[in-house]
């Protein structure tokens, strides 16, 4: 197997393994599913071209950082702040809990950007607080603190939505 083929195979494996979490992270930052998809594709296409992923020590954290940069650069180029698009599904819900999925999306949408980033990176990206701190340029304690706040807010928000749904029935 040649060097290029090995590189492509490795990138394919990384895409299968982390693609979903990366897309969720990109959606959580950009607010738009289409732009998020473009950003993830852009990162992987560049990775295929220059083979930079294979040189990274922590490949997963590197990919999350690349996706974040791609989304933020795109936002700079387009110079617009889009509201979070919560109409398209982000998750495949357990036990067909579509209401729960919608509540989760809306709850995430209500979080401040920095807290939403941290919660997505830790829960679905499975990055440690230290890795999140490196990625966002903050300390691991700050990342952990943001996470706790985010988790509390999200839980409160989802419970409130569930209760309001139950009351309306």
């Amino acid at each position: 197997m040649g060097r290029t083929e090995r590189n492509t195979a490795e990138i394919e494996a990384l895409y299968r393994q982390h693609g979903a979490a990366l897309l969720l992270f990109a959606s959580a930052i950009s607010g738009d599913r289409g732009r998020a998809q473009d950003a993830v594709h852009q990162v992987f296409l560049k990775a295929i071209e220059n083979g930079s992923v294979s040189q990274a020590k922590n490949k997963k954290a590197y990919l999350f950082a690349c996706v974040r940069n791609a989304v933020l650069n795109d936002a700079k180029v387009q110079d617009r702040n889009m509201p979070l698009d919560v109409d398209s599904a982000w998750f495949s819900p357990p036990d067909r809990d579509y209401a729960g999925e919608q509540n989760l999306r809306r709850g995430l949408g209500e979080l401040p950007d920095d807290q939403r980033e941290v919660i997505v990176l830790h829960v679905w990206g499975e990055l440690t607080f230290s890795e999140i701190g490196d990625l966002l340029g903050v300390s691991s304690n700050t990342a952990a603190s943001r996470y706790r706040y985010a988790l509390a807010k999200l839980r409160g928000s989802m419970l409130a939505k569930e209760n309001s749904c139950a009351d309306s029935r």
Partner: protein, 134 residues
Amino acid sequence: MQTPDDEQFEAYLKRFHPIAPEPVPTLSVSHSSRRSLPFGTWLAAVAAILVIGAVILHILSNRVVVSNRSGDAAIAERHAPSEPLTMRSANAWLATAPSFKAAVDDLAFRSQTSPLPQGKQSAVAVLSKEKIRL
């Protein structure tokens, strides 16, 4: 410090799996192109060999025809009547010629430089005087 409630809620959140992205076009294309590239190359190579073979065969067959024709002409030259063309000499020439075509070619392009003896007519002159009824 995470509370048991936090951990429970985190576990609940993890039950929601993020939807996988669409495949990267290049990743799916690169596979097929890697597979089809040798096939395409082989196809092109086979086509090129066939074309070259056909051209070579064509050239060789033309050479054979030309050499056969030149052979016929040489034989015709050897056997062609040296005297002026008359009906008798033409008949004699047709009887001995290797092929009808070679005989006609030779008769048609032979030089008419040698003058006819008195009282004799060329076959072409006789044929030209005949009235052909259709």
